[in-house]
Amino acid sequence: MSFQKTLTRRMLSLDFLDDVRRMNKRQLYYQVLNFGMIVSSALMIWKGLMVVTGSESPIVVVLSGSMEPAFHRGDLLFLTNRVEDPIRVGEIVVFRIEGREIPIVHRVLKIHEKENGDIKFLTKGDNNAVDDRGLYKQGQHWLEKKDVVGRARGFVPYIGIVTILMNDYPKFKYAVLFLLGLFVLVHRE
């Protein structure tokens, strides 16, 4: 290779491209399989969490400021949704209103439970002046167990901001995924 080419290559730090060129087909397939394994493991961990916590969404990101100053946008919440845990006032529940996708994180204000365990309850965000009746579906006055995604049992601040960024700026999401994919494919063990 000419001196100039080597110099340019070095200056642009493109030495890793040599690695890719040297890899033959078998190694490429191996790297793809490796990548597939990482994705599968991640999925398995997520599904495992769903089973252990009983919630379809064991980790959620806080999307609004209605629970400030306790939780801010971008905080991460860990949920459980065990049937044995009864819903009681003061608990922080994550629920979905029928027909809407976005889960809401608010606190239980009132409950009325029948002897057979049927429960209806009302929620309110800490930072809101009024309860959530205005948010529920037209004609709906209470929430029921089936609307609950889970109860917040633990929390970590700030970390969920990455998810919000990826949602608001799709280009950022694609860039992250692209870089990750590239890294896994090219990295030699």
Binding site: P69, A70, F71, T80, R88, V89, G90, E91, I92, R107, L109, K110, I111, H112, E113, K114, E115, K120, D126, D131, R133, H141, W142, A152, R153, G154, F155, V156, P157
Partner: protein, 166 residues
């Protein structure tokens, strides 16, 4: 006056919430009366509406440790009626941030939220239990719900009030 060290707490599958060794002093006094009014926010026409005023005194300092960001205090009323085996209504709540005064001395407090029953179960209800509880919000970690040990039971009168109570 009820002086007690609360040992309440929920245990979450083997991971016990911190059992704080705090001693809160709660002084309660409540006056209650009741009306039957139209409840426009709820599903039915007429429901019982209870009025409770209370005094509350507490020392929250022992609950705050290095990992506590804030406390969400709430006063809840728990009772049973013919139509519902268990009812819980939050009457009043307060957020106490780390750094704020931890001594509470509230007198003649009215409830913050309307004490509507799901029906007419407040009339002549002998046993409404008022409990002070709090949700500890850490800087990071588990979110425990703790019930204070001081508890007070009040009855509602047999008849409705027709005049303004507050």
């Amino acid at each position: 006056m009820v002086k007690s060290c609360e040992d309440g707490g929920h245990v979450w599958k083997g991971i016990a919430y911190r059992l704080t060794s705090s001693c809160s002093t709660l002084i309660w006094m409540s006056v209650s009366s009741r009306k039957n009014v139209d409840d426009f926010t709820g599903p039915r026409e007429r429901s019982d509406l209870g009025f409770i005023t209370f005094d509350l005194s507490a020392d929250l300092k022992p609950i705050f440790d290095w990992n506590v960001k804030q406390l969400f205090l709430y006063l809840s009323a728990e009772y049973a009626t013919k139509s519902n085996a268990l009812n819980q209504v939050v009457l009043w709540d307060k957020i106490v941030l780390r750094g704020e005064s931890t001594k509470l001395n509230l007198r003649d407090m009215k409830s913050k939220y309307f004490f509507f029953d799901d029906g007419n179960g407040l009339r002549a209800n002998k046993n409404i239990t008022l409990t002070l509880s709090w949700n500890v919000v850490p800087n990071a970690g588990i979110l425990p719900l703790v019930m204070g040990a001081g508890r007070m039971s009040v009855p509602f009168p047999e008849s409705y009030e027709t005049t303004k109570s507050y």
